[in-house]
Amino acid sequence: MGTATTIQPERILKDLQQLWAQMAVDQADAGGVLRACAMTLVVVAENAADAERVRQTVGVLMHNHPSRAVILHPGGSGAELDARIFAECWKPFGKTQQICSEGIEITAGQSGFSEVAKFLVPLRVPDLPVVLWCRGAAALEPGPLEPLFPLADKIIFDSSQVTDADSALQFLRRLRGHGRRVADLHWTRLTGWREVLAHLFDDQALQPAEVKGAQVKFGGSSVTTCARYFAAWIRTALPAARVTIESAEAPRGLHSVKLSTSSDSLTITLGSDHCVEVLGCGRHYRSMLPSSSEEALMQEELGILGPDPVYERALSA
């Protein structure tokens, strides 16, 4: 459900209030609706088609992270800003009462984009965290989104499509240096890999002091941020080990990680069916990686609103 309106924050908030009142009336027989809100989630989509995908993703995220979603996307070339409001509702299994979260979709002309930050301030839910999700590789370059950064408690990027990993990481480090809390979904994609590697040390298949070297292999024509992250993560955990990054004849992304001791070695290699294969040091098994859908990655990131020291160390290394 939704109504179009010319952008005026007070008007939008009033429309939202009316939307809630109307839903309460419509759902009165089913016990009304329950409004849930834990944060303001601002998403900058790349274009109108991307905004549609975002809306679907946000609909899924709302179940675990109910929020006021503000979806921004560019449209037209002028300075105009248009907004419409909507509600995402779902009915928990076995319940009659619906749970709803609210959303605002803002279309900004190219020259109007710089004005968006001003309008966002009153649209934030008071006293709750603001998470900004900047989609697309272009977001990892200085540009028109920068005025939005100071509004957010956490800014989420995705460096999977960038062609210059080092520049993207430099950009993130600069933001971090300015006190912004940043996250990168391409780091989040490594959680399954990292967990498999960490478990080898839990199970004492390897002892940290024994590891002399680590080789991170990536597929694709240029080094990816995930290879850089993985190498940096190993380097911060095992400062005495020699860590190298090499390319492999493989699809783009992380291909394998090999840890060597003076007498043995162990390799984790990406296999089929979203699994990794662990081989060496007396181990040979396959482990399934967690889902790497955008929804799953965002669920993980939205669950961490405070400091993320492991990521921050890897980013800085």
Binding site: L34, I99, T191, R194, F201, D202, E300, D308
Partner: protein, 500 residues
């Protein structure tokens, strides 16, 4: 052995790592194993929480092969898994780790067979789970001891999970503890109280000590009284034989509800570590005022529903309490004079377990009749903080609000927090939480010897009184909130039960 910290740990993103181990379940064909343990272990596998290598070795008297046992458990998991579709592929991988050894727990040969089976799985760590009749606990522990299965090689561990009841009175609890300690150290003994594994019970600690607003009010100055209710709408459901020996006081209040009370009333621990938290719970249990014999009739009520004596397996003259209520006081600076009313019963109007914390009324009835009171009453309604444990885990705060419109009419409203709706994520079952805790060696939610003995000490005068008298049972109808004496008990202290 020195523990080496894992430099790759990322507790913010990684689940707690369950170490490779074998779980030996005694009573593996019984109800608890079928309804709770195997579904919980399967769910852990589903959530990728179990290690790549683990083993479950079941034992009961029924002769069956590994395959037979797997088939039985497959049906049980399908039937009793609380949510999620059954995944045949996952089950195949999970079931490959399921083994079975038939045998009588009194037969020393059984333990040698179990030892052989566990050795064949290659697991160095063993978690023993006593899911049998309580009368076998000491026999099994002795058997484990005599077979040297409790002796762990360097770097490995042996742990024992014991299901309640931990004894049937203070003396038997001490005896059981002493027999267990002959084989297992206290730090390797995990007495399971599944109530403590429930999300809301754990959330009591988060609510109290993670927020700044509640703890300043959490004392005799602001809290009028606390009601803890564990009501069941069903009867004994075929467990008449067991239940007539236990009764509500032993079955619910001595363990679950006193532990819940301890969680509600304990002091904050200096750190959130197993022994620090358990020290505070134990301290609170030791602070509960022990009733003098002459006080029992005033502060405790027993009840039995009409029809209990006609249940299968129940003695037609049974004196069992299918309902028990008690008034407890805590002798410490924070709670002096604040009554804690605890009740539990079967065949009550509905299934509900909750804790209601009633705050003192506003000092001045500023709004008079308008404040939601009935005609002739001038008092404002007190605020209630309700911690719901089941069926729907959550927290509600009741307060007064002005009704829309002219005039100053007040109406009580409820501010609700519901686990299921506020966190879309599925809550793990209590057994999932507690099994993982035992495997990783976290005893925070398990009951320690001193806690068990302290709670029996609280109950002992009531037990002695009730064991030495004949009640005029039955004294309440099914579908009511228990005997009238329970209403009288609370009314004598100018309070009333929340029967809603």
């Amino acid at each position: 052995m020195t523990e080496v910290r894992n430099p790759f740990a990322d507790p913010l993103r990684f689940e707690r790592r369950v170490p490779e181990c074998a779980i030996v379940i005694f009573g593996a064909a019984g109800d608890l194993a079928k309804r709770k343990l195997l579904p919980a272990l399967y769910r852990l596998a589903y959530d990728r929480r179990l290690p790549a290598s683990f083993a479950i070795v079941g034992n009961s008297r029924t002769p069956m092969s590994d395959e037979d046992y797997r088939e039985r458990m497959r049906e049980a998991v399908k039937q009793f898994s609380e949510d999620g579709d059954f995944d045949e592929e996952l089950w195949k991988r999970f079931a490959a780790n399921l083994h079975y050894v038939a045998g009588d727990v009194k037969d020393p040969q059984l333990y040698l067979s179990l030892k052989e089976k566990v050795t064949a799985t290659g697991q160095a760590n063993i978690l023993f789970y006593l899911s049998t009749q309580p009368s076998y606990y000491t026999v099994i522990v002795d058997g484990i001891g005599h077979s040297h299965m409790a002796a762990a090689p360097d770097g490995a561990w042996r742990r024992l999970i014991v299901e309640k009841p931990f004894g049937h009175d203070l003396g038997s609890a001490k005896e059981l503890n002493s027999r267990i300690h002959a084989v297992f150290r206290e730090e390797d003994t995990y007495r399971i109280d599944h109530y403590l594994g429930k999300e809301t019970v754990q959330n009591i600690l988060a609510l109290r000590f993670g927020n700044g607003i509640f703890e300043p009010l959490w004392n005799r100055r602001y809290i009028n009284h606390v009601q803890i209710t564990a009501a069941e709408s069903i009867g004994v459901e075929g467990r008449g034989g067991y239940y007539q020996e236990a009764g509500a006081l032993r079955d619910m209040i001595q363990n679950h509800l006193l532990q819940v009370m301890a969680t509600v009333a304990m002091e904050p621990s200096a750190v959130f570590e197993p022994d620090a938290v358990r020290d505070e719970r134990a301290k609170l249990l030791r602070s509960i005022k022990i009733m003098r014999p002459e006080e029992v009739d005033q502060y405790a009520v027993a009840g039995q529903y009409k029809g209990f004596r006609q249940e299968p397996g129940v003695n037609p003259d049974a004196q069992t309490d299918t309902y028990a209520a008690g008034t407890f006081f805590v002798d410490n600076w924070r709670w002096a004079g604040v009554p804690f009313f605890i009740r539990s019963g079967k065949k009550l109007p509905k299934r509900v377990t909750d804790i209601a914390i009633q705050f003192n009324q506003a000092p001045l009835a500023l709004f008079g009749k308008a404040a939601g009171a009935g005609d002739g009453e001038q008092k404002a309604r007190p605020n209630l903080l309700i911690l719901r444990i089941q069926p729907e885990e959550g927290i509600s705060l009741l307060f007064l609000s002005k009704e829309p419109g002219s005039g100053m009419r007040l109406r009580p409203v409820s501010m609700d927090f519901n686990y299921g709706t506020s966190f879309g994520e599925r809550s793990p079952s209590a057994y999932e939480t507690l099994l993982v805790d035992a495997m990783v060696g976290d005893a925070t939610l398990y009951t320690r010897q001193d806690m068990v003995e302290a709670s029996w000490t609280v109950i002992q005068p009531i037990l002695e009184n009730w064991n030495n008298r004949r009640f005029d049972f039955p004294n309440y109808d099914a579908g009511t909130w228990g005997p009238a004496e329970a209403d009288t008990m609370i009314a004598k202290l100018s309070r009333q039960w929340r029967n809603s």
